[in-house]
Amino acid sequence: MNCEEFAFEGLDLDLDAEVAESAAAREHLRGCPHCAALYESSRTLRADLCELAKLTSDATAPSRVEMRLRQEFRTRHTTDKSRGRVVVASWLLAAAALIVVATSLVLWQRHGVANIAGTRQSPVQPTAVHSVATGPELGGTLIAENDGEQFALIPGAIPGMLDDTTVVRVQMERGSLGALGLSVNEEHANDVVQVDLLLGADGQPQAYRLPQSNN
């Protein structure tokens, strides 16, 4: 081992170790006072650096740094979350608005302008005829047609309940109309008349009309 090799490699070696490199370094040191002095200085330096390292070996960042960082972390992620929530809420609102508009459009198309006008002012136009029945006897039902004649609301009926209705034609004594809250002329109370009744979804009569044949 020469001086250059010792300076570059020998200083890192453990000279007490029983390996070839250490033996070569020891051999070189015995014959080279310059490298021996360098080795001694280097050992002292190592010891000094070790001492310096010990001085700061347990140094850690003050706890305030962690607090500041966690605060920043919270702020950043809370902002991100709220931004996300706002975006989701906006999309939900937009979707809800779209559904409302679409539903309104469909309803408007289904009911037509005439129905809207009919709802506003009684008598009422029936929207659908779901079933028919026949029966010639008193109180029985006959064929009813949605022939476009207008129904009159029975007192106490709610116009908004007329969306899902059934029209039935019944024969009854005119006096029975009084039970529906209609005024009846006593002289004709026993006359049998045909009445078209507009039944709501709950089966209760909501409106009525007297076909032309009764008049």
């Binding site: 570059f8 000094d48 650096l49 070996s57 140094a59 962690e66 960082l69 950043r76």
Partner: protein, 210 residues
């Protein structure tokens, strides 16, 4: 210490997978994961910054900057390129260099602990005040000598001698070949010896002139 490879002491960097998982959780807003990452890595970054700058306030600022980067841009870390520890050292190195460029000659000789209090001597120690004065003077000389090294030699000395990193680890942090680490360390030691000799001589000269 085995300089040629392996890890030793506190400089060992935790397994990348674990840090990786924590970082992912942290990026999703898990504060506990971020705190764990911080606690695991802050001390080594703080010590590196402290030993490089010699100033507790600067080290504190650098640690904050380094972890703020993790909060703001967690995706900057690419596990394929190395461990999270090495990534954090990389950011810390940049911050240290910027700091040294701004204040190249300003350094404190105070010894302060992590909370900023000046360290005190152990009064139960039976050694004489003269001995402690000598120890302190010696320490200050070494510290001054280290802090006066050019940054590239200083960081190699700090990582290999003070942080006790292996050449491999230091090379990963410094992003240079192992041979460069060895030669920088060799040169750094030589410079340190020269500076210490100079510092040792200067008080003698000052005394002789009186």
């Amino acid at each position: 210490m085995d300089k040629a490879g392996g890890t030793s002491g506190e400089t060992h960097i935790e397994s990348p997978e674990r840090d990786d998982v924590l970082l992912k959780r942290s990026a999703r807003g898990d504060e506990e994961a971020f705190t764990q990452l911080y606690r695991r890595n802050q001390a080594q970054i703080y010590r590196f910054a402290l030993r490089m700058t010699g100033q507790a306030w600067a080290a504190e600022e650098i640690v904050q900057d380094v972890f703020m980067t993790l909060v703001r841009e967690p995706k900057k870390y690419d596990p394929a390129r190395g461990s999270l520890g090495a990534f954090l050292y990389g950011i810390a190195r940049n911050r240290v260099m910027k700091h040294l460029e701004r204040r190249p000659r300003e350094f404190s000789l105070e010894t302060k602990n992590s909370e900023g209090d000046t360290q005190v001597l152990d009064v139960a120690d039976e050694r004489t005040p003269a001995h402690w004065a000598e120890v302190r003077e010696r320490r200050e000389r070494v510290r001054s000598a280290v802090l006066s090294l050019p940054p590239e030699f200083r960081e190699t000395v700090v990582l290999c001698e003070l942080e006790e990193m292996s050449y491999e680890e230091a090379a990963q942090v410094l992003e240079c070949p192992i041979g460069t680490v060895r030669s920088r360390l060799h040169r750094g030691r030589a410079l340190l010896l020269a500076k210490l000799e100079m510092l040792r001589e200067s008080p003698k000269r000052a005394n002789a002139l009186r």
